[in-house]
């Protein structure tokens, strides 16, 4: 049990109805000062995990440690964890400053100190002038910032955020992502963040835990998650990805041969998560790792028929039919001298063995 972990989940399970497990055997460590994101589709149990950590739900089994001590029996108000709710939950009958003073008041912090802390927190989220307003008189983004300030004003070690940006429009969301990230870097608090938006998770996190069906599918840094997904779900959930299904013919060390279904041919791939020879597998291949007119000697090379071209400015998204799959996507960067192709052309496409990961079926 390392002191560097602010939170540890040990074999935590949760069931609401006694019939289905919403969280199944969760083991998760949050390092001190870390920004950890729980990412997963709707209903995967993210909020449940957060609620157990905040103390609003009781684990059905297992143990949660905060700073090394079990907190299963500690009520929420004694945990000292800051929390930002999806709908902000700013108290509508109090002004912004009163909202921020609330956690200080209940901690019996002297009036003068409280004023100072409130002002500092408001300045931090660039709302120094808004202390006297009611939450109802603020825009969505401003309310969001107040919620963040309120969760931080009493200097907690740990802050939980449950989809705090869900209600904002795209531009504001991206702005707030950076702002929260910077606040995190400045203050050094630990953050457990919940979202189902993968780009948000990639932008902000030190590590991401990808949830599905109450189980952590993979826990890794954003780049690792994107580039080295452990299983088909993670590959599919994070970023765009071409999927080819087939059967493993042969595994030899760092490479394997997979015979694709629909007579798609045989592909050389990196065996990451294959059950063994003769078993089904899913190949995962990022669109930007596919080359058009590849250099000779590349591991895999096929003829592809161009089905569709979509101009997206920085790149051209190209859908081709290859290996018996007509949903195969290639991103051609819009650089000098990029391949000029037209719909209906037949071109050669190829990719390296390491970029083609053989995962579970």
């Amino acid at each position: 049990m390392s002191q560097d972990n602010i939170v540890e989940f040990n074999h935590v399970q949760k069931s609401y109805d006694g019939e289905t497990l919403v969280v199944k055997d969760l083991n998760l460590h949050v390092a001190r000062g870390e920004f950890l994101t729980l990412l997963g589709p709707s209903g995967s149990g993210k909020t449940t995990v957060l609620m157990m950590l905040a103390g609003f739900e009781v684990p059905t089994h297992g143990e949660i440690l905060l700073n090394g001590t079990p907190i299963n029996a500690v009520p929420p108000h004694k945990r000292g964890i800051g929390m930002v709710f999806q709908n902000y939950a700013l108290f509508p009958h109090m002004t912004v400053a009163e909202n921020l003073r609330f956690p200080l008041d209940v901690r019996k912090i002297s009036r003068a100190d409280a004023e100072k802390k409130v002002q500092r927190a408001l300045d931090m989220v660039r709302l120094g002038q808004f202390g006297n307003r009611r939450p109802g008189q603020l825009s969505g983004g401003q309310q969001q910032r107040v919620a963040v300030a309120r969760a931080l004003v009493f200097d907690p070690d740990l802050v939980l955020m449950d989809e705090p940006l869900g209600a904002l429009d795209k531009n504001l969301r991206e702005e707030m992502q950076l702002e929260i990230k910077h606040i995190h870097e400045q203050l050094g608090v630990s953050v457990v963040y919940v979202t189902h938006d993968q780009s948000e998770a990639l932008t902000m996190s030190n590590r991401i835990a990808v949830f599905d069906d109450g189980v952590i599918q993979q826990l890794a840094a954003p780049d690792m998650l994107y580039e080295e997904p452990d299983n088909a779900f993670v590959a599919y959930f994070i970023g765009e990805n071409n999927r080819l299904h087939g059967i493993v013919k042969q595994v030899n060390g760092k490479s394997c041969e997979v015979e694709l279904e629909n007579n798609g041919g045989t592909v050389k791939a990196l065996p990451v998560n294959v059950a063994g020879e003769g078993q089904r597998t899913t190949l995962s291949l990022r669109p930007e790792r596919v080359e058009v007119n590849p250099t000779n000697g590349i591991d895999n090379s096929f003829d592809a028929r161009v089905e569709e071209l979509i101009y997206l400015g920085d790149h051209i998204r190209t859908r081709v039919r290859v290996c018996g799959n007509d949903e195969f996507v290639i991103k051609i960067p819009n650089a000098h001298g990029h391949a000029r192709i037209n719909r209906g052309d037949t071109v050669k496409v190829g990719w390296a063995l390491q970029d083609c990961r053989a995962l579970d079926a």
Binding site: F56, P76, H77, M83, F85, A89, F91, F102, V106
Partner: protein
Amino acid sequence: MAQADITQDTGADGRLDKLTTADGTPLKVSIRRAMRRNKLIAFGLTAPLLFFIVFSFLMPIFDMASRSVENHQIPEAMPRTVAVLEGWNGQEVPGEAAFEALALDIQEGQRTRTIGRAATRLNYQEAGMRSLIMGSARRADQLEPPYKQALLEVDDDWGDLDVWRLIKRESGYYTASYYLNAIDLTYSDTGEIVAQPEYRQIYVMLFVRTLWMSALITGLALLLGFPVAHLLATLPARHANLLMILVLLPFWTSLLVRTTTWIVVLQTEGVLNDMMVWLGVISDDGRLQMIYNQIGTIVAMTQILLPFMILPLYSVMKGISPSYMRAAKSLGARPPVAFWRVYVPQTIPGMGAGGILVFILAIGYYITPALVGGQSGQLISNYIAYHMQQSLNWGLAAAIGTILLAGVLLLYATYNRIVGIDNMKLG
């Protein structure tokens, strides 16, 4: 309707002059034209309700308010007397001219049967006036000049200065005496405003009693209703529905049945007393009087008005997201503190709406106090009813009613100033 595409006239200096639609009509005009149709339709749809309200609500209120000051009986039934008394100084019993006018008025009034109304009207102010006038009216055809002597022979009360002063005082088409009576004041014999004799002072006490009992009932309803509303708003739907039915059940049973049920429960030989005797809390001859007094009124009215507190509270509480309480707790507030500082303030619109509703209903309540209030539990409305139905002094009933109405409006205005009506949520 004009085309929707809009051209902009730009003035010589390049400034935007006026917006017009494609056919050249100014934009404002065509908007007004387009809106007029909608307004007409909207008015047409609400017109029946409007007329209904005017006929069944505004006109009766206006009628009531005017009855509280109206005094046409005397100038209409005794026009000659009124005219002669106009020049009278009021210092001594008037002379033959006044008596002649009176005698003629009585004779004519007896023929047209209008004198009775004036007699009743004067009797409100001074007991005995009705028998004085009607006694003379019965012998009207025997009255011969000189009238003073003749009338004094019929009844020597006509020689009483105060009788004449009273007639003169009430000879106008409008009077303040109903309002004075409604707050336990009256005119002295010399015409000054003085307190009623002690044995006739009752209305101020009744107003005060009505106010404090209504306030108490409102407070009790809030105390009892708040937890129920909270439960309703937080229980899972299945249980909440059952509870809601229990809350609404009283609406589906007759008010009379509910009130009389309280008699069964509370009377000295009733269920509650029996139970306490059985449990040994009180002895058999120490049975408590819990009905036909203020306790009866308070208990029964609290129960009857409770739903009017619970429903607005419930609708407000239903809209308070549970995440507020969670947020408060996550910020370090103990549950009672979170409840008191975060939850309760957000229910104020509901408390205000429920409180005002219950209070206003309570100060006008009538059947329940009449049935279970005994003497000490009667409210002001019971006396309004008494004057409407028994004493037939509608003017006084109207004056009391108007004061009550003004009180309610005042309360409403105060509430608006302090809390804001738009903050009130009825459902």
